[in-house]
Structures are given as structure tokens and as C-alpha cells.
Symmetry: C2
Subunit: 217 residues, 2 copies
Amino acid sequence: MQTFTEENYLKTIFFLSIGTDQWVSTNALAESTNTRAASVSDMLKRLAEKELINYQKYRGVRLTDEGERLALLVIRKHRLWEVFLAEKLQFGWDEVHVIAEELEHIRSERLIEKLDAFLGYPQFDPHGDPIPNAKGQMPELSYRKLSEVMTGKTVLMMGVCEHSPAFLQHLDKSGLTLGCSLKVEEINTFDQSICVLIDNQHPLFVSHEVAKNLLVK
Amino acid sequence: MQTFTEENYLKTIFFLSIGTDQWVSTNALAESTNTRAASVSDMLKRLAEKELINYQKYRGVRLTDEGERLALLVIRKHRLWEVFLAEKLQFGWDEVHVIAEELEHIRSERLIEKLDAFLGYPQFDPHGDPIPNAKGQMPELSYRKLSEVMTGKTVLMMGVCEHSPAFLQHLDKSGLTLGCSLKVEEINTFDQSICVLIDNQHPLFVSHEVAKNLLVK
DNA sequence: TAATATTTTTAGATTAGTCTAAATTTTTTA
DNA sequence: TAAAAAATTTAGACTAATCTAAAAATATTA
């Protein structure tokens, strides 16, 4: 049985590992968890003791299979609660993360399985992120970024890379919602900004900064 | 902002104060919180420091107005979550308490107000206990115990005193649910056990021990 | 490759919440 | 009402999670 803090470390290590086959560094963890490197070192010893991570002094950490399974179960809970908050309680997609950060630590397997059923076994959270299954497995998704799409192509908005409220509120204001179609009309060579047509109706100017953070297929 | 532990102490002091105008004793708190008297003394100093209780050494504690308000807000959250678990997730009334003990500490006013709305502003939790309002006020209910009802009278089952899973499961097995009508057919003078007629249909034998824990009107 | 810079770990403290054992206060009782 | 019993508090210690400052290891660079 893990503490809240241990669960948060596992989750953080998981996210920092994604995409790289590198070991996660102490400093990266300190930054992500808003603590100091010394505190991270302490915690890593504890997690290694419990065999949830492989830890090599000065070299970094990796999740063990069990550590990854636990991390994914926490992420599963987080994302299911986000769906609940957005769909049932009408919270905005920019608001759900903070509350789910607390709810994800509620310990009851039955609760989460019943919640899953109540929500109709959703596959994605309100940001388009996939929801791991009860065994702690998550499908690999291979979406492109909008910034990589060629002029003239039409794609569907499937998710976001950036999850900050500020970014999500910006998308709301721009009329960019999950599932909308985006036709790339023009890419400005100067600053990589893009003109898109949303759902074949509304034109929109999208900065490169934003385009880099939109996942499409 | 209180910690989980502080919130639990406030809640416990509140429940131990109900009905009596006595001050709550250190030992009573130690028993309720499954800690030692010494630990309680420590915590009481902290809570007194924060002006959430009036604490007189060796004499006991009382909640201040602010302490009572906070206790009632925790109870509000607890009971609203219980309604959610029972009505939306189909948990039994014997299962909801344990999970709500964790959910009651989630910190978001907006969450609890939206949950309240989602549930249709329920007035009672699955055990018939009243739900405090957002200001931290709870209606006084004056129900009798079934053990105090005269032979021949018909009453409605409104709540329970005892909340243990074992007791609630016993009621389930007996067919005693909130809102059912109970006609007292006979009271055995020997052991105070009672014969009742449930909903004018099924006869049932009720021990004094059970009757003492059923609230009726 | 030696000197410097960066990263990481260790050492030693701190806080919340808990404990046991001993001291103190209050209550009960003879 | 003094002695015994019960309740409560204090003293001192422990654990988890954190911190700062210093030491040690690794990486960079001239």
C-alpha cells in the first residue's frame, strides 16, 4: 500500500519516462514534484526498497513492472474522475485536473470499477488522453501534432499535449474542441503560424506554439 | 486549512457532543479516534491554537462556532458522497461509509456544490441522517426509537442509530428499509422484543437491541 | 586530462502525528 | 478528608516527508 506521495512519485516517473528510453534524473523529478533533489533522493531509496523502481545512484530511475502497473492504476483513477467531473458535474476541461489530483488517491477498487461502469466505460478523458484498463495497461496512441500537418490536409482534433488551464481556456475561446475537424489552409513560413478552417465553417488563426500542442489524426 | 486528521478530530468531537451539554473528554476522543490519550492531548493543543475548540486542561473540549461549522461541512461532504455512492454507483448502505470517510476530505467547494446539484439536493443520506447545508447548518430531527413505540401504533422507519455494516446487513436480511411502515403488534415483556408488521404485509420479530437502534416517526 | 561546473547524495534539522512511560491532576471511596 | 484509583498531561522518542548546507560523484571544457 502506497502513500499519496509515493503514488505521486510513481506517476511523475511514469510521465517523465514516456517517449524516452532514458532513466529519469533526480533533478527532473525534483522539478516536477516541486521539491528539492535531496528530498527526491530520500524518496527514491524508499521506492527502490519496495521494488517499485530500479534506482542506480547518480544515474537515475526506471519503474519496475509493478511500479508501472501502480502508476497506471493511479492514472486510470485520475482520468475516470476527470470524465465524471466533466460529464456528470459539468466542470470545464480546464478545471478537472486539479480536483482529480485529489480524487485519484481514493483507495477502493470496487469504487473505481463501479465508476467506470457508471460512466459507460469511457476510453478517453476530457483532454483526449487514453484511460488505462483495470489491469494497468494503456493503449499506445500515435497522433501527430497539428504543427506537422501539410497545407490542404484535413484532420480531426484528438487531444492536447499541454494541459494547463490557461492553454485549455485559450482553446475554448478559439472554438477548438475535441473531435472538431481542422483543414489546414495556409502555413506562414515566417513564424509557422497556421490558418485553419474549423468544421469546414469558421476560419481560425493558430500560432505555432498552439499548433505544437494539438494532437490530430 | 485543516489536515485530514484535524478534520477527523473535529467531526469526532461533534458527534461525541451531540445530545450532551458535557465537555468531551480526552479518553472518549482517544477511543473514538483509535489513538492514545497522549496523542489526543497533543492534537487538542493544536486545535485550540487554531481556535477551533475551547480546551480546558483536564476538563475536556467543546467546538467553537467555527469548529462546529467546519465539522458540519465535513459531515455534509461525507453524506453527499454517501448519497452518490448509493444512488449513482449502486453501493449498499452498509458499504458507503468507509469510502465516504476518504471522499469527505476532498477540498473543493465547487465540487461539493455541483455534486449536491447533480444529486438533486438530497436532504438525507442513505441511513436517513440529515445533510447539513452549505453554511454548515443541520436541521434538528426528533425521531423516536422503535423501542419506545406503544403496541398497536404504526410508524415509519426514518433512520438508524447504529451504522455498522453488520447491523445494516441484518436490517437488509430482515427486510427493514428506510421509509417502510412498521406496525407494533406485540411487545414481549420478558425481553422487550417486538413483533411488527412491515408495510402491513410481512410479520417480523425484532429484538430490543435492534429496536433501540431504529429511528421512527 | 586537469580544472571547473553540474548533478546528486549525505548529514543533520524540522514538522505533523503518533507512541510509551512517567508525572500530575482530578475523582472516587473508605 | 486522606488515600487510592482513574484520567490526563508532559517528556522523550519514532516515522514520513520535507528542508538546507556540505560533500561526493559525474560531466564538461579548455
